[in-house]
């Protein structure tokens, strides 16, 4: 079943077009990632889904409901963790969870959530005194306290240290395992690649591509490269005649084989047949960073640089 459907979403602020034309659908139980450069329209898109913005044109359906017209019903079923949102400094963890659970018709057990997110020890700590990671976990807990069918998580791990980021990722996977559909907005490629079943790349207010992480990587760059040294002399024709190989270069004893498809296994097979041992074998693994560059023409931000910015 379709959890979320965005069709030709368009939103402008004055003359500035924030979202030009965005369409995608998210199936139930999926973790769907949205990546894109700053200002690409990611946040406006999710804010429109959450009913915080009224689209200028296009339609949005959350479990078949319109976020503006069926505002109350959508709010019951959609959990939100947004950027630029916060909680009162003096509120304690347990109070916030208890209070937010009172907003919903059929809330989740907030004590269980507190346990799941590792906040039980901090139940009597004021929001202000929590670390960045704890605040983020509380924010996630509060997005889930209403027992939502869909959760929007916007820039989930910004400002977290590497360990906290990995902890948060496994937590998100556990949440998905409980059947919650997750819409994940991020500018961290490792996060999107690790968590998402499918990813939409948004650039300049439009969807540049929607695919699985592996699909995006393959589409962005079909070319693969394998490097190695050989233990004994070898004729290049052993490799150049392989259908997957397009080019072979040898510089100072280092072989660089360029090709496509199942390049690595073709090369390894040919070498084995020639009874040559490849040393120092390396595959140039393309990742989502490369795909991001290919689709947007810009380099993604690294977690390190944005952590420094957030500190």
């Amino acid at each position: 079943m379709t959890a979320l459907e965005v069709r030709n979403l368009h939103k402008r602020y004055g003359r500035q077009i924030a979202v030009d034309d965005v369409s995608f659908t998210v199936e139930e139980g999926e973790i769907f990632g949205i990546i894109g450069p700053n200002g690409a329209g990611k946040t406006t898109t999710v804010e429109s889904i959450a009913g915080l913005r009224t689209p200028d044109s296009g339609s949005i359906r959350v479990l078949g409901l319109d976020p503006i017209k069926d505002r109350a019903e959508v709010r019951e079923r959609l959990g939100v963790q947004l950027q630029e949102s916060s909680f009162p400094d003096a509120i304690k963890v347990a109070e916030a969870l208890d209070l937010y659970s009172s907003f919903y018709r059929d809330p989740a057990d907030w004590r269980e959530l507190m346990e799941l997110l590792g906040l039980t020890e901090k139940r009597d700590t004021r929001y202000k005194a929590l670390s960045g990671g704890q605040k983020q976990r509380l924010s996630i807990a509060l997005a889930l306290v209403g027992g939502p069918r869909i959760a929007i998580l916007d820039e989930l791990t910004t400002g977290l240290d590497p360990q906290a980021r990995r902890d948060t990722w496994s937590l998100i996977e556990r949440v998905r395992d409980t059947g919650v559909t997750i819409l994940l907005v991020t500018h961290f490629m490792d996060e999107a690649e690790r968590l998402s079943d499918r990813i939409a790349v948004i650039d300049g207010g439009r969807v540049a591509a929607v695919d699985t992480p592996a699909g995006l990587i393959a589409r962005s760059s079909p070319v693969q490269q394998v490097r190695f040294r050989v233990s004994q002399p070898l004729d290049t024709s052993v490799l150049t005649r392989l259908p997957d190989v397009t080019d072979v270069e040898i510089t100072e004893g280092r072989w660089l084989v360029t090709g496509r498809g199942q390049l690595l296994s073709s090369v390894a097979g040919a070498l084995a047949r020639a009874q040559v041992v490849a040393e120092d074998l390396r595959v140039d693994q393309r990742n989502l960073d490369d795909a991001f560059v290919a689709f947007t023409g810009r380099a993604p931000q690294s977690p390190e640089s944005s952590e420094r910015k957030g500190a």
């Binding site: 915080l52 709010r75 947004l82 630029e84 919903y104 018709r105």
Partner: protein
């Protein structure tokens, strides 16, 4: 209803954890009155005022001090901070209706002022021998309606101020203006008639409070062509309704 109660409970706790507001809004009026009451000159009865002491006439002003503090400074600052920090925005993504957020704030603000007033009236009686309000029902009406009028004005600021510093600036301005008419800087007995008349229509309606507290003091501070008590109350009610309606109209989450 239990949901509103829960929010009131949490907001009350947050209020009590804010020690500056508790000090200034709740305890300060009583403290101020006790300090002024310890000045001998203010405790001498004067034949000009029919044997009343200055402190007797001034007591309602101390009460107004706490009311104004909470209604136009504290409440708008809390809501503007909620807006500035995205707390309102976060709330707006939940099924909690906006009026619950505002209502909870108003209930807490009202309760704190009731405590402040009760404490002040008790200490005024116990320590300074100032008699409690002579006409309790009318005093209660003047207090509740006058406070609602103050909150109505405070809520307009709360509805639109984007940042806590903006709310604080508006609040300070309102505080000075309202306390001027509230007799904090110049005792009402010394004000020219035109200011005193204007003061009858300025929330929370000091003249009505004074008259309900002590008829004698009320006569001294009343203007020659003073409006009847219930008309003053009606004006305050009008301001309360208009203020709340404007605030509800202008309210923004972000």
């Amino acid at each position: 209803m239990p949901a509103l109660l829960k929010m009131v409970k949490v907001e009350t706790r947050l209020f009590l954890r804010d020690s500056a507001t508790v000090m200034f809004g709740v305890l300060f009026p009583a403290g101020l009155l006790l300090v002024l009451g310890s000045i001998p000159a203010l405790k001498e009865s004067s034949p000009e005022t029919g044997g009343l002491r200055s402190i007797d006439i001034w007591a309602p002003t101390a009460l107004v001090f706490g009311m104004v503090m909470i209604a136009v400074q504290h409440v708008p600052a809390v809501i503007a901070t909620y807006r500035e920090r995205g707390i309102l925005r976060r709330l707006s993504t939940t099924p909690a209706p906006p009026r619950r957020v505002l209502l909870a704030q108003m209930i807490v603000a009202f309760a704190s002022v009731v405590v402040s007033a009760a404490l002040m009236i008790f200490l005024a009686w116990a320590v300074l021998d100032i008699a409690p309000p002579e006409r309790p029902l009318e005093f209660l009406a003047a207090f509740v309606v006058g406070y609602a009028a103050l909150l109505g004005i405070g809520m307009i600021s709360a509805a639109v101020a984007r940042t806590s510093s903006a709310a604080n600036q508006i609040g300070t301005l309102l505080f000075v203006a309202l306390m001027f008419f509230g007799g904090a800087f110049l005792p009402r007995t010394l004000m020219p008639d035109v200011l005193r008349e204007a003061g009858e229509s300025v929330p929370p309606g000091l003249q009505a409070l004074t008259a309900a507290w002590s008829a004698e003091a009320g006569e001294i501070t009343a203007t020659a062509g003073g409006r009847p008590f219930w008309l003053q109350i009606a004006i305050m009610a009008g301001i309360a309704v208009a203020g709340s309606a404007i605030a509800a109209k202008l309210f923004r989450w972000e």
